[in-house]
Symmetry: C2
Subunit: 292 residues, 2 copies
């Protein structure tokens, strides 16, 4: 069985945690234990988010977002690769830089909606917005830097990823949703955007013909009626059931959309749940399991 | 024929140039044209330095050097991959994160000797050294941040690189000399060091059984009597001839050592010269060609 597992950026750097490398390394060790449990039985491809990390790099540097995404593929990919190697010493593990084509006319470019980096109070957020030219938007009790998040259309390295998977190599790829690129008259170039890693992972899982897609985060499951008094976790659920609910666009929304996308396109299961439950979600014993 | 080509960090960001991304992208386009000329005829693996870039990241961030090396593998790897794809649209190209094992007892850890980042005047250098805890050393007319540069011993992803090369994929790997790691009781971990990319490239070329190793930089050839009045470029030269000369430890020294290492271990040619002459060096028409 081939499993694509997407690690939330928050699984690497939790909300409110200081961004020290030692902290991220410790969190990734926890993630690697959960993933190794799956990799001992199945072929595994790991993807990861970069929201907290790319936001911090944007604070330090005026470099464009595609370049910062490339930097986070290096740093987070390295941390995951090392942590997985320490759990699975005999396994070949490869971290692959990944570029994903997007549509230059994607409406997301005119409506930045993906929050990255820390949560600021309003005054801080307004100062940073004017300093860096950022768009900001409310998030929870504060404000965050928001960036365009276009739909992923094509993974440029897909043939290489297939080859590695077929050869039994554990692959880390599509980090941060992939580096967003477009093809224009002068060739390929990067775009000022961050692709949603759940959508990128669903595309990857479809193209690889994966048997399951896991989206791993810091909550137990998708909750129906999330904001209401009767919030209840969803277990086994059909894509039809999910179409009846609304989910927060910033966090659970993209996961639910990606799960529906994968389940409807392939007939296979997409799971959403807590990182530590990864193997249990796959066995149908935890998290939300979405099928068509 | 399989060629390993190592791009100097200075080929990407020339001495004294402002570190804007647009500048690096333009320089890398020039590099990609030279490399594509080789890739149209031969299997090619590209490695690259990161001296200027890792030094700039160290100015912005307190993160350890192995993490900054990982970031530069992402950013420089992305730039090279895109530039090569624009020259060779039909070719599969893969940028692989690469970790290289070093000896924790390598004497380099007690004697930082590899310069990274910009050249500073003495006052600036002393201020930065005390601010960041850097070791500094004279370089040309000024001072630079110097870091430990241990010998590369083993490329952790070598089996993956071999597989990709055998499958006809153009591989970018061992960027910045690879991310330096050691194996300790608790597993693999990163080290506060930057491996010399020419030594890493010679190790890679040996392990891949490459037919030629090219070290591409911004000078025409290795010069005998570099500092003297009778400086003359070396063309075809034997490793025995080279043993008779001394070369500057910061720049040409590691290239000459790496060339001797590769040529003596394999009996094949190691070339050193100008990036734009890459194909001509391979044909024996430019640069310094070292054989055993």
């Amino acid at each position: 069985m081939l499993v694509v597992a997407a690690l939330g950026g928050n699984a690497l750097l939790r909300r409110g945690e200081p961004p020290e490398i030692t902290r991220q390394v410790a969190n990734i060790r926890t993630a690697a234990r959960a993933l190794a449990e799956i990799a001992r039985e199945h072929a595994l491809v790991v993807t990861h988010g970069n929201g907290p990390q790319v936001g911090l790099l944007a604070l330090r540097s005026g470099d464009p977002l595609y370049m910062l995404s490339a930097e986070t593929e290096g740093m987070i990919g390295y941390m995951i690769e090392t942590a997985l190697r320490n759990e699975l010493p005999a396994r070949d593990i490869a971290g692959l830089l990944t570029q994903i084509a997007v549509d230059p006319d994607d409406p997301a470019f005119a409506a930045p909606g993906k929050p990255i980096g820390p949560i600021y109070d309003e005054a801080q957020a307004r100062r940073l917005a004017s300093e860096h030219g950022w768009t900001i938007a409310p998030d929870g009790d504060g404000y965050r830097h928001v960036v365009p998040s276009p739909r992923p259309l094509r993974i440029l390295e897909i043939e290489t990823i297939k080859l590695l998977v077929q050869s039994g190599i554990l692959v880390i790829c599509a980090g941060g949703g992939g580096i967003p690129v477009i093809e224009c008259e002068t060739g390929w170039r990067g775009m000022e955007a961050v692709i949603d890693k759940d959508h990128a992972s669903a595309l990857l899982a479809r193209e690889l013909g994966a048997d399951a897609l896991l989206m791993l985060t810091d909550v137990d499951a998708v909750f129906a009626d999330w904001d209401g008094a009767k919030a209840s976790p969803l277990g086994a659920v059909s894509t039809d059931d999910l179409h009846e609910h609304d989910f927060a666009p910033g966090s659970m929304g993209p996961k639910v959309e990606a799960a529906i996308d994968f389940a409807e396109a392939t007939g296979h299961m997409a799971g959403i749940g807590r990182l530590q439950d990864a193997a249990a979600i796959l066995r149908g014993e935890a998290g939300t399991r979405v099928t068509a």
